[in-house]
């Protein structure tokens, strides 16, 4: 059982510990593995959606009438603005202007909250019109994909909140963690751009 570990020593050598720590040195690499994986997982969802759209084109087209393009456009703009604000927050942080950075982070979070509220009101309106998850194949994709995205938005808000706390506290200001949180938030924006195109705009 344990025999296959036999030739390795019982504990790591200092060189091995060094190597393991260097591997870890950049926290950005950590979040990036997640982001790339998430992009590809979402990519597979998008392709699945396209396939079903192709198979049930009429159903999808008529079901798309239930969506409100205005809401979709508004949500897209809100997220784009939030990304812009966050990029400004990061620029301020790199210039060591922490107070301004905190304000822009708050502005980003405000945009995120607007998105959440807007998304939920959009759902409420749709459900009120009898357009629910089980209505048809399009509605399944729509509610599910936007729901998963909303989950990402909520996690992103948590990350931004933590970022804000760190910016406020002089003892734990750290550009590297800020960059991780920002990268995640921009990915949320990026995914929404594709979801908006696929759900609202395709014909």
């Amino acid at each position: 059982m344990a025999s296959t570990n036999a030739d390795s020593s019982l504990d790591l050598t200092p060189a091995e510990i060094d190597k393991a720590q260097r591997h870890d040195a950049n926290p950005l690499d950590g979040i990036w593995i997640f982001i790339v994986g998430d992009l590809f997982i979402f990519g597979s969802y998008f392709v699945t959606y396209a396939l079903w759209r192709n198979w049930q084109h009429d159903v999808f087209l008529s079901a798309q009438r239930n969506l409100n393009l205005g809401f979709g456009l508004f949500n897209t703009m809100v997220l784009l603005v939030s990304s812009w604000f966050l990029a400004a927050a990061l620029k301020a942080m790199r210039a060591a202007d922490w107070d301004t950075s905190g304000r822009w982070t708050l502005a980003t979070m405000a945009c995120g909250l607007v998105f959440v509220v807007s998304k939920i009101s959009e759902w409420t309106v749709e459900v009120g019109h009898g357009f629910v998850f089980t209505s048809n194949m399009f509605s399944q994709f729509y509610f599910w994909t936007t729901g998963v995205h909303l989950l990402h938005v909520l996690f992103g808000l948590l990350a931004l909140f933590r970022l804000y706390l760190e910016v406020k506290d002089p003892t734990c200001r750290n550009v590297a963690t800020a960059e991780s949180a920002a990268a995640f938030w921009h990915m949320v924006d990026l995914l929404w751009l594709v979801i908006f195109a696929l759900m609202y705009l395709t014909r």
Binding site: A2, S3, G30, I33, T48, Q140
Partner: protein, 282 residues
């Protein structure tokens, strides 16, 4: 202390014996080995013996369900027999991970470790065992009323998919622990990959509502993408545990009870005289 132990002999069995006797992490290593072995047995049971995976169509007619259980009845019961013998060893994996969480440098590490163990054991007990029972009972008498067979069929897959919350929560706990751990027992990037795992656990939930399409229990999204992500993550996780075990301190000074044995009133003999080891400082 490994320096004082006798040299590692050659030969599989002798090496294994040496490690069991002298490796202070022997219990961790055996728990580690149980992971690839037990998961492979599980995979074999689900995919090749019982034909439970990939899942059959949820919208099967009653006649097709009867046919399914008639055709695979013996294999289903045999496969679940194998699984029931081996499944308890997955608890070793949970114990190992929970214990590693307890060793991390984060506030209330012990509680996080217990929470992980509770969540994962709960998921294993309900998700795997309940589906095994309903499936076995259905295949035991395929001449039952077809409506009842269909009930058992649904119960199998819905109890399998419907217990994802346990795994979701377990995974969430582990993820948090890794990301918050200051000792970096696991690399941070591995913590981020755990997020794939628990988010994909969220995503199977529509399978308990819809009967066809990509979100049903045999669908592209609810089953295939989820399973591919899970298996990929599982491979990473086995390697990460390997490095974590190498880095963590041994559970306990193995020779503590030997020292106790030297005390008056016990029947042990002196360690120093029998094995040439000097007692460790307390």
């Amino acid at each position: 202390m490994s320096a004082a132990a006798p040299p590692i002999p050659s030969g599989m069995v002798a090496k294994a014996r040496w490690h069991l006797r002298h490796n202070p992490k022997a219990d961790l290593w055996v728990a580690w080995w149980s992971i690839p072995i037990a998961y492979n047995i599980m995979g074999m049971v689900y995919f090749t013996i019982t034909h439970m995976m990939p899942p059959p169509d949820p919208s099967k007619s009653q006649a097709e369900v009867v046919e399914f259980f008639t055709r695979y009845g013996f294999e289903i019961r045999l496969g679940f027999g194998v699984m029931l013998v081996s499944l308890a060893f997955l608890v070793w994996a949970n114990g190992l991970i929970g214990w590693l969480i307890m060793k991390m440098d984060l506030p209330h590490a012990k509680a996080w470790g217990y929470a992980y163990m509770l969540a994962m054991c709960g998921g294993g007990f309900t998700g795997a065992y309940m589906s095994a029972f309903t499936m076995s009972v259905a295949s035991l008498r395929p001449d039952r009323d077809p409506a009842m067979l269909q009930l058992l069929y649904d119960a199998t897959y819905i109890s399998f998919d419907g217990t994802m919350g346990f795994f979701l929560f377990g995974s969430l706990i582990w993820t948090y622990a890794i990301l918050a751990d200051k000792s970096r027992l696991f690399p941070k990037w591995f913590g981020y990959t755990c997020i794939w795992n628990f988010t994909t656990e969220f995503l199977v939930s529509p399978a308990v509502i819809v009967q066809t399409g990509p979100f049903s229990w045999n669908g592209t999204i609810a089953f295939w993408i989820d399973t591919i992500v899970y298996i990929g993550w599982q491979v990473i996780y086995v390697f990460m545990l390997y490095y974590a075990i190498k880095r963590v301190d041994p559970p306990k000074d193995r020779f503590r009870s030997m020292r106790l044995a030297n005390l008056p009133g016990s029947r042990g003999t002196s360690v120093a005289s029998t094995s040439g080891l000097s007692p460790q400082p307390a």
